[in-house]
């Protein structure tokens, strides 16, 4: 085989191989860009949703402060603790937009280098001499160009990971504790309502209205999370624990119960749907588990 024929053959193969590899890389980077766009949209929805929720939280906080004058003195300490709790929840939620602003929303913009033309390949290989060295040179160029493209894919993926992690971290640090706090506040207000009922229906009604504030605020926050793809993990007492989605925080020994079944939910869990439609656990639900 003449050198010219060998170079022509190497060129044809190189073009084909680079073309195939380029298409696969292009697909990867397009998928990455689409995922980034999806997470940017989620971040924007979260930002806007939380901004509007803040107003409602502040309104409920004002309503809470007005309640104090209507309550008998013996409830004032409890009122203060619940009020401070709600104030901290509002403060936590208020921090989210600033934290979200720190998450890099940049789009990866560097385009992939287009595959070399037949002429470019021929030019690159022609000076290398005989077939073995031309073959070696071609392999080297294919590897270098393929690696350079992969470097770009890697950077785009890193950007996606940072963006996604940034948004999820904001939710875990600034939204889920608020939802936990609302659950906890509601739970702690129950014995107060029971105690007040025996004393005065009027006081009990004030406290019931106060407790309802927690539910109102939760109803405001959960749809925001749903818009972002975050869902509450459903727990039913008696169901068997799924260690991928549930985290035991206490064990109760009961020989009559089914071993490793759930007795009660202590803290709600959340999962999210990723851009590939797979469901991942954002935070497992904390549960009390029966054991023999």
């Amino acid at each position: 085989m003449s050198t010219a024929t060998a170079i022509a053959q190497l060129t044809t193969e190189a073009q084909y191989r680079e073309g195939e590899s380029y298409q696969a890389d292009m697909k990867a980077i397009v998928a990455c860009e689409a995922a980034c766009a999806s997470w940017r949209t989620r971040a924007a929805r979260l930002h806007d949703g939380v901004k509007s929720a803040q107003t409602l939280f502040e309104g409920e906080l004002d309503r809470f402060s007005e309640v104090q004058t209507e309550l008998p003195n013996r409830f004032h300490d409890d009122w203060y603790n619940r009020y401070e709790g709600l104030r901290l929840l509002t403060k936590t939620l208020t921090q989210l937009p600033d934290q979200l602003a720190k998450v890099s929303m940049e789009q990866y913009q560097q385009p992939l280098d287009a595959p070399l033309t037949a002429q470019q390949w021929t030019d690159l290989l022609q000076d290398t001499g005989e077939w073995p060295s031309a073959y070696k040179r071609r392999e080297q160029i294919l590897t270098e160009r393929g690696n350079a493209r992969y470097q770009q894919i890697f950077q785009a993926r890193e950007q996606l990971v940072q963006l996604k992690q940034g948004v999820l971290d904001c939710i875990v640090e600034y939204v889920l504790p608020v939802l936990d706090g609302l659950d906890e506040g509601e739970r702690l207000s129950r014995p107060l309502i029971e105690a007040s009922r025996q004393e005065s229906t009027a006081v009990a009604n004030i406290l019931i209205a106060w407790r309802n504030s927690y539910a109102i605020l939760r109803t405001q926050l959960l749809p925001i999370l749903e818009q972002v793809g975050i869902r509450q993990i459903t727990i039913k007492p008696g169901m068997l624990i799924d260690y991928y989605r549930h985290e035991p925080c206490a064990v109760e020994f009961d020989p009559n119960a089914v071993a490793e079944s759930i007795n009660a939910e202590v803290r709600k869990g959340y999962d999210y749907v990723d851009e590939d439609d797979r469901v991942y656990v954002l935070r497992p639900a904390q549960v009390v588990v029966f054991q023999h």
Binding site: N81, E84, G85, L86, R87, L88, L89, K91, T92, E139, Q140, T143, E144, G146, N147, Y150, Q151, F154, E173, P177, D180, G181, E184, G185, L188, I241, Y243, Y244, H246, E247, P248, C249, A250, V251, A259, E260, V266, R267, Y280, V281, P284, Q286, V289, Q291
Partner: protein, 512 residues
């Protein structure tokens, strides 16, 4: 296309990485970049590994195994799970199997080849068992490499100059410090030290105590001391809040710690970086003492260290970096300090798996023994004395031999006992194993017996005893030994073995 992966098989968490197309990547397992090194055996016969296993620990601590790495190499350690008796090797192999399964799913390719990292202080028995765990997981273990070496590979593969590097590895529960000599792409561990009970978890605990004391003075409630369910839940929330604060203090001067309902009371406080630094100062001083100790062991001064590199998420703390800067010099920190060990292993794996690939850089790793290895032999007073064949701090892979003789006519066998240690009394050293070599006739007085220690690249000992012929063919070997303090001319002995003039028996040493 098949890939070789790098595995950081950790005490608390494990990480698997791959080097492909010029880039090193961490492979997520169950959506996370590291996987808890935990295995749980369920009542229905299923086995959980990683995050779900860790989650099951509270429900079934008997059948959930954590920190298996602490027991690798311990032959007496047995985990009784149902009717089965499992060794640390069995448990480690399940962890490795899960990591490899995750790698196969992520890469969409079969993965059989791996480099696994081990602590630099691991004994040959611990290395041997780690390798066995890999093999039991169906892996071809390309190499075991020391964790600090892997970290250096990940940090400085592009560095051309020779340098002495300190690796400061502060994980969640352990602290390791090592000094390595890097010559081109040759890596050699010079000295290792550290503290098995010191880590970033201690920093969290310090903040927890500080906050709970404040809370107690305000409310009279003891979050850490009480065992009520309220207190347990409050502790969990406080732990999350303090961990978040610790991370925030790596970048900010202040961090808020907020738990809206802590045992029914609001907890809202702020910790400054100065306060945090004061809290963790005693722990930092312990790491400083370890740094001084390894410098002393390596017979180096702080100025001899060219670079200090950081491993482990706790090293993100500015106080940690400042302490190192005061003691040695300003350290270098990678983006993902938790993953650098696995990254280095992945680079090494790609090198060993595809040595001809144009996008890999040749890396050679040599290590040094932490203790002397040798056998007991009768001395001139006819007392058994420890004869070190591979002295402490010898670089390996290596092969060393020693020539001895039977001590009485008609001796039918030679029993050689292998020890690790520095004491001339063998019983003061660690017993590693025993080899019995039958002595073939003629069993005249002074049959020459050679012993050969080979320490392979994974740090595993292959011990061979050779009966040399009692004729002229052995004379050059005896003469060589006389001129070289008893050293065996290993190539000459091997030549006699090949020609059938000598006979040998070899064992792989596994310590008790």
């Amino acid at each position: 296309m098949s890939y070789a992966v790098g595995i950081d098989l950790g005490t608390v968490n494990s990480v698997v990485s791959v080097y492909r197309r010029g880039v090193v990547e961490t492979i997520p397992i169950d959506g996370r970049r590291s996987m808890p090194s935990v295995v749980s055996f369920c009542n229905d016969g299923s086995v959980l590994v990683g995050a779900p296993a860790k989650s099951r620990l509270l429900v079934d601590s008997v059948n959930t195994i954590t920190s298996v790495k602490r027991f690798i190499g311990d032959h007496a350690k047995v985990y009784h799970v149902g009717r089965r008796a499992l060794s640390p090797v069995n448990i480690s192999s399940l962890i490795l199997r899960r990591l490899i399964q995750g790698a196969r799913e992520y890469l969409g390719e079969d993965v059989w080849n791996a480099v696994i990292t081990v602590p630099a202080y691991f004994t040959e028995a611990q290395r041997e068992q780690t390798k066995r765990a890999g093999e039991a997981a169906g892996l071809n273990v390309l190499r075991l490499i020391p964790e600090p070496t892997a970290a250096v590979i990940a940090y400085s593969l592009d560095q051309d100059r020779d340098q002495t590097i300190m690796v400061y590895d502060l994980g969640g529960g352990t602290f390791d410090v090592s000094i390595l000599q890097v010559k081109g792409n040759d890596f050699e561990v010079l000295a290792v030290g550290g503290n098995n009970n010191l880590g970033g978890n201690d920093f969290d605990q310090e903040i927890m105590h500080w906050v709970s004391e404040q809370f107690r003075s305000q409310t009279g409630l003891d979050v850490l001391g009480s065992n009520s369910r309220e207190a347990i839940l409050a502790r969990q929330r406080l732990k999350k809040a303090t961990e978040a604060a610790k991370i925030k203090l790596s970048q900010s001067e202040y961090a808020a710690i907020t738990v809206p309902d802590c045992m029914g009371y609001p907890l809202d406080t702020t910790i400054s970086r100065a306060q945090y630094d004061t809290l963790i100062e005693p722990q930092l001083q312990l790491t400083v003492a370890s740094m001084r100790s390894v410098l002393h062991d390596a017979e180096l001064l702080p100025r001899d260290i060219v670079r200090v590199i950081l491993v482990g998420s706790s090293t993100k703390s500015p106080a940690v970096q400042a302490a190192i800067a005061r003691e040695i010099k300003q350290p270098c920190i990678a983006n993902r300090v938790d993953e650098v060990v696995a990254h280095g292993a992945a680079i090494m794996a790609a090198n060993l798996f595809l040595p001809e690939a144009s996008d890999t850089v040749p890396v050679r790793v040599s290590n040094v023994t932490g203790h002397s290895l040798g056998v007991d032999m009768l001395n001139e007073h006819s007392e058994l004395a420890f004869q070190a064949l591979i002295p402490r701090q010898t670089a390996y892979p290596c092969k060393r031999g020693y020539l001895g003789f039977t001590n009485r006519p008609g001796q039918e066998k030679v029993v050689l006992t292998v020890y690790r240690g520095e004491d001339c009394n063998p019983r003061q050293n660690t017993y590693l194993g025993q080899l019995t070599l039958p002595v073939a006739p003629p069993q005249q007085n002074m049959v020459p017996i050679g012993v050969v220690f080979e320490l392979d690249a994974d740090g595993i000992i292959h011990f061979t005893a050779v009966q040399l012929p009692g004729n002229l063919k052995s004379r050059p070997i005896v003469q060589y030994a006389n001129e070289h303090n008893g050293a065996l001319d290993v190539p000459a002995a091997e030549a006699l073995l090949r020609s059938g003039d000598a006979r040998a028996k070899t064992i792989r040493i596994i310590s008790e």
